[in-house]
Subunit: 347 residues, 4 copies
């Protein structure tokens, strides 16, 4: 039994960590912080916890955190996370940071894409990128995980088998992705208003400017062993949870849909959370809602020599909190699926 | 470990039983039937099970069912259920019937409200009405459960504390309820079309004609020890899961909101799945989505002497399959919450 | 051709007035104000106007308004409206106030239900309550309209034929109503967040405390010639537009559904915007979305002696801006349906 | 005043024609057919017409149609349309066919993509492709229009300015598009069930197999004067109305976003229904819902040399029935915007 704390537990990824940890057999949630809600019960913000979770938000205090927990999830926005991580690392905690603050080796990349100075540059490059299907071994050996972004999780899992084997042109990849509204966070804003999102689709950060682009390119390039270059367009769609990714890649040589599905199946063999669908079936957002699964389907467009790969994840689970717990399970030597076996909520 | 079968596993309640049983530590799902989909994998209808559940639909056969399972859930439509139940009862199975076929003691009540003859009248009155918060003791001692309807579950839990204590006029109760679209079942019909339900609310069986009325009145009358008479109006609302019930009751004497919340809290003390909310808070459909919880909130309207009680459940879980598993847990001597501890999926 | 201005044109009712006035043959929209958006184009807030409406928000100035327009719609929140109305009334404008500020004759009723002092008590009782189907004659003769609230419009139209004829017990009426999220206004708040509203229903101001109650009781009492007393419960439902009202009334004597539909049909004969549905049909929110229509359906519950009347309107049209234009049409001697003939947007 | 008939008026495009024609000053709707609903009122299928449209569905009869109307809209599914068109063309009608049956010059293209024989091959190539922004002159001079598909309308309008000027590589274009559920038609099917579509996105006809591909390539090639080759992926998204198209094109030479917006603005100058949005703004589905407008926004991705162009239309209006009426207006010499000036329904 490991004691676990969450710093920044009032947002959606924090709440989702609580939801998942309540049914985790090896973890005890002992410590949750939210500086804006000190003294309030978690269930006053998230009534699904009514009568089930009596935890009360506290203000973050590094010493207190050290006392209370061996594993610390940092679920703060980027920019706010770096301070806490640097304090927490001085303890003996296992740290899993869900923000973008420690995903880059290169300070300048961070600063130019996130538009703010990095306050702890000496820690850059020290965290392991927590995508278990690609980095499991390194995850097992570290105390410091940088948990992947939601879009990168969907895009990397959709393309990793192609990139590993060098099957597609690395400089000519298009990633078109839809996010559910929970990806915008819990704050009430003009573009999270029900009347804005409902019956609507809108686009933002069009034209190669989203901060997840360098993360995708960095990790895809590692996988490919070649520099990868992508065009990425994010759209906001009318559902609460999910990332739905369509990747367009140009094949270097003729390969059939059947052959590629076989290659994907082999690549993800033994991976509990990644399911490659049979030919003719494509992922659905709802199939994975509330679950840590990633579904992948693909088809070759023979007229144009492209392969279209589609993946679906729940942005709050495999795209954030579920993957964070998967990383904790690996770091702590638990069964990797512990607490994460729920399937998607259909219908 | 008990072996479990589901007869009629292609519909939504069947699929929900599968979803919940996959994470049940004491039950092994061995047998699923669906006469229309014989030979097809469950995951071909419900892709959330892709790579997780390899079960294949079979045709129902009483002997085979007897071999395969000790507990049998019957998730067939009313009218179709009675045949199977009568065959299954000849075995040693524990039977939990989710249809309306065995909820009445009185054949004529069934036939006049369901509009069809009852083929097994000798079995009427033999099943225990499976609402654990009211009938736990009888459930423990039976092999044959008639699982409550979704609307009755929401309405009875909202009013039982008032009726038990005789606090409201039994003949003057109004139940206004909203159902999610999954309540209409998996069949594609005009009124389950997305473009019909989306951004819409519609009403049906208005004016005291819904077949759940005699079920509510029968069970509420037992609880009250007086004849209960209700007006009930069901509405179809644009969400997939949930029953949202507003009950209007006239108080026999002055009682404050605070006093009534205390009475409800005492009535449901120790009940894991029923949560009485603090004064000023009211249930939300989303708080209980995907969970077996029932949330209840109430307020006295002092101007009119009425108490308004609101309850929320997931129609497929506490309103059907979750409650069925709760009943199985009680019948089999398992922890009543086994497999049912997941909280609602927010956001 | 009449020149028209809108004070407070950045909110949803303001935007809806613009939308409707753009297709009005007798009105020219010349003046729109929004103190928070001075200098911005209307289409920067509402992109449906892109390239169609080049109006720019101005700050409100009484003299300027007087110059610019003969008819002034005041689409400000209650509390903010009274100041503007009192200034505007000094001009020769026709004033249509969409707030609750001038709906009551009695200062104390306003102050106790709206929780704020009324700054222009001498104007109370001077406005005509702008529900044309009930007050057409008075509307024709006034320059000052107080436009009804959205809930009262739905509830009064559903019950007026019963109350006029004294067919139901006036002190025992229940109004259960659902509102779309646009009823909460354009401001981003916790309970207008997509992830809060989506797949959800919640309740607020339960137990006889909503500020529309005295408005309903005041107007229903006038119609009945008796004091009317209601229980009213509002719920927030997952659609953008609509008020869906279910009224429960106890009949003083036996009347069949057929007889009551005939009575309703006669009451609303010649009313273009109120449609009484045939027996067995009930209103749908979507049938009236975007339109100025009110649909009404009803059924007698013979078991309990109640009649259930259901009405549906678009809260922003018949429940606010459409009705305001209907009032303008009457005041100005235009065809009452001018600019308002669009039917609901189905599917 | 022209008399108008609709053949196949029970589907969504038929219903939408009725909705729009009811507010058309120059057209009188005299004749609607639906073989499955003969004798039923239009409002029994579409209650938004209750009390407003008393038309009754008839069975199609060519002679009767000839008597009843000068303009005939054919809103039948492909395959069913060709018979009716060939009969109707023998009269003096103006014909606007909304199906895919007459969009191709080449019989083999039709047969291989639509998977059925063409029964009237001699009529192929005789209809004018009814996209007014590209083909206005030819539309004015014909009696026979083949109305464009919904996806092609969105995709062609998004790319026509680039193709006309030869600014992008014609063989390397990706069209990723989302459709609302009404695009699947009124028939209740597994994939139009609310519980399937709600909170979901799914994909179909992935990999270059959708029957709109040859239509897009044929028309784009005409515009470009070069052979155009596209990859097209359609997705089903959770809204009732809309086509949301993202086009990825590789620029032949460096052009800035500003320069391209200027080029688009010039191309669509004077076009009432196509609005090119300012830099930094992108289309929204909801901005055009219920309207005949097409909104277009674009951005150059300088890192990759691509331009991303996004367009939004209402699939039932500009993508079908509204465009059909726009074509009628041109053919009949009416103001092109007659009956089509409503803006999108926001919020």
């Amino acid at each position: 039994m490991v004691r676990v704390g969450i710093v920044g537990a009032s947002g959606y990824t924090g709440s989702e960590l609580i939801r998942l940890l309540l049914n985790h057999a090896k973890a005890e949630l002992t410590y949750v912080t939210a500086n804006r809600y000190i003294g309030q019960k978690v269930s006053s913000l998230y009534p699904n916890f009514a009568g089930v979770c009596d935890l009360v938000y506290r203000g973050f205090d590094a010493a207190e955190a050290k006392e209370a927990a061996e594993v610390l999830f940092i679920a703060l926005p980027h920019g706010a996370s770096m301070d806490v991580v640097s304090q927490a690392l001085e303890g003996e905690h296992k740290i899993i940071d869900l923000s973008g603050d420690f995903r880059f080796a290169d300070k300048e990349v961070y600063e130019s894409w996130y538009g703010m100075p990095h306050k702890c540059p000496t820690l850059l490059g020290m965290a392991v990128y927590g995508l278990p299907e690609v980095n499991r071994k390194a995850i097992k050996g570290t105390n410091f995980i940088s948990n992947p972004g939601c879009y990168p999780t969907g895009a990397i899992l959709a393309t990793a088998p192609l990139l590993t084997k060098g099957l597609v042109f690395e400089q000519d990849i298009i990633i078109d992705a839809l996010t559910g509204v929970s990806g915008s966070g819990r704050a009430a804003k003009e573009d999270t208003h029900y009347c804005y999102c409902d019956e609507n689709v809108s686009s933002y950060k069009v034209g190669g400017v989203h901060q997840h682009i360098p993360e995708m390119e960095q990790e895809m390039s590692k996988i490919a062993g070649e520099e990868v270059r992508i065009s990425f367009t994010p759209h906001l769609a009318p559902f609460s949870r999910g990332i739905y990714t369509t990747a367009y890649c140009n094949l270097k040589k003729n390969l059939s849909t059947t052959e590629l599905i076989k290659i994907f199946g082999e690549f993800y063999e033994g991976e509990y959370f990644v399911k490659v669908l049979p030919e003719g079936e494509y992922p659905q957002v709802k199939s994975v809602a509330g679950s840590n699964f990633c579904h992948i389907g693909l088809k070759v467009d023979e007229r144009t020599g492209r392969v279209i790969v589609i993946s679906a994840i729940d942005n709050l689970v495999k795209g954030a909190s579920g993957q964070a717990i998967q990383n904790m399970n690996i770091m702590c030597g638990f069964d990797e699926t512990e607490g994460l076996t729920a399937v998607g909520l259909m219908p």
